[in-house]
Amino acid sequence: MTTASAPTGVASFHDILRIAGCRHHFPLLRQLVNGKPLVYFDNAATSQKPQVVIDAMVRYYETENSNIHRGVHYLSERATQAYEGVRTKVRDFMHAEDQREIVFVRGATEAINLVAHSFGRRYVHAGDEILVSEMEHHSNIVPWQILCEELGATLKVIPMNDRGELLVEEYERLLSEKTKIVAVTHVSNALGTVNPIKELVARAHARGIPFLVDGAQAVPHIRVDVQDLDCDFYAFSAHKMFGPTGVGVLYGKRKWLEEMPPYQGGGDMIKSVTFEKTTYNDLPYKFEAGTPNIGGGIGLGAAIDYLHEIDLNAIQQLEHDLLFYATEKILTIPGVRIIGTAQQKAGVLSFTMQGIHPHDIGTILDLEGVAIRTGHHCAQPVMKHFGVPATARASFALYNTKEEVDAFIKALHKVIEVLG
């Protein structure tokens, strides 16, 4: 039996009621799938978008679209203002000190690749070590693996226990003078585990080792304060927090970003170019080559505004209740095994059913209008740890309800009826 993490603050009854009214902000949820009301439980893959985000992007393309920065005309100035305004919103959202620490990227994956490429080539050498954890998404494994192969460094792995919690003493043992960076996820996409990032960062910093946090799964659920966590880098994607696809953020402490070489060359990241020498632009533009996803950035800004409107503590409480309810219900179904039973858990329910492949579960649920994810969730080492080829995963967001959990459980009974 899993106990989900308790919310850090107390949400008022009023706040919870307000969230309950949020569902109608999401137009996509008002549809039938295979003749049944859609139950969207694939939020860890991508969240749905509220009308305000869709409208903000439409309005941008209808009234402001222009290329940003060097333009002298009216539209370019408006677009620049709007886009740079989002950078300020992101700074406040993450509680960063300085907006020069906010680099726009395509998503969390690109953010991690940027650090692996740029920080890696400056600070990692042959014989050094990079530390990741056993529960990482492939996007926080492979960029480091590529770097290690290229430089002759070694990738080390922090193990986890069978509940899906990192072994902190093992982590402590793995930290050494060879370790050049630690990269760990805030919330596991496959297990739902919320890692004690602040403590992990402090232990790395005690040895002078910088720390990157993969925050892709955390930002829609947890209030992130990069100064409190004291992490050196924090990566996330807009699309998992009710914003559009194709835009994300890398937060990096200025002391690192100043020293790191550019990631890609092109427009916007330069001050001057001659065939003999190029002078790079200031932060954060040094890392933003080429015309960015301006419309996507505007959508991200609207998503942050939307999250500001709702109390994050209330979101946490609602998701905690849903997870608890779903966990209790699913364990009454014979043959169900929950993968990931950490004490501190976000709204992710990964499970298997005895003798039934997750893909068959996914297909039958789909025919009942219930969208879940099945497969290895881009975390094959996690699957290996638990000795399963794949799992079925239901993941919740603020617009999900207990009635939807009931529909999901009913559909699981149908799975047994057909294949059990």
């Binding site: 492949h357 068959d360 025919l367 294949l419």
Partner: protein
Amino acid sequence: MSELRELYQQVILDHNKSPRNYHKMDDATRHVEGFNPLCGDHYTVYVKLEGDRISDVSFEGAGCAISKASASVMSSLVKGHTIAEAEELFEDFHRLVKGEIEDEEEIERLGKLAAFAGVSEFPARVKCASLAWHTLHAAVKSDTKAISTE
């Protein structure tokens, strides 16, 4: 429920529960491993060849109901047939699951294979249904040791 019935037909449910020719073959002429890396489906197909005839075929491994039933039906259909006949069946099967055979009579003529007609409605599952066939094809036609759907 009609789509569900179509996808998980009785033939498929039966072959998933009690797969035919589901064992290792020690004296196989060739065996090839087939992977579907996205789902983790993983089968080994064994063939015993006598000239251009597949005198025996078996398989073992793990995967979803569609992939296992497909491997089982395939093994029972191609056993004793020539490689050319098996390849023809594969061609028919491939067209069927891609939704390229629409004529009801033509589908019915395919016998047990017809159970997989519903797969064409589920593009994400075509690879599951085809895995064993691709693996058999590799076993009789080439000298690879393993194939992957990706």
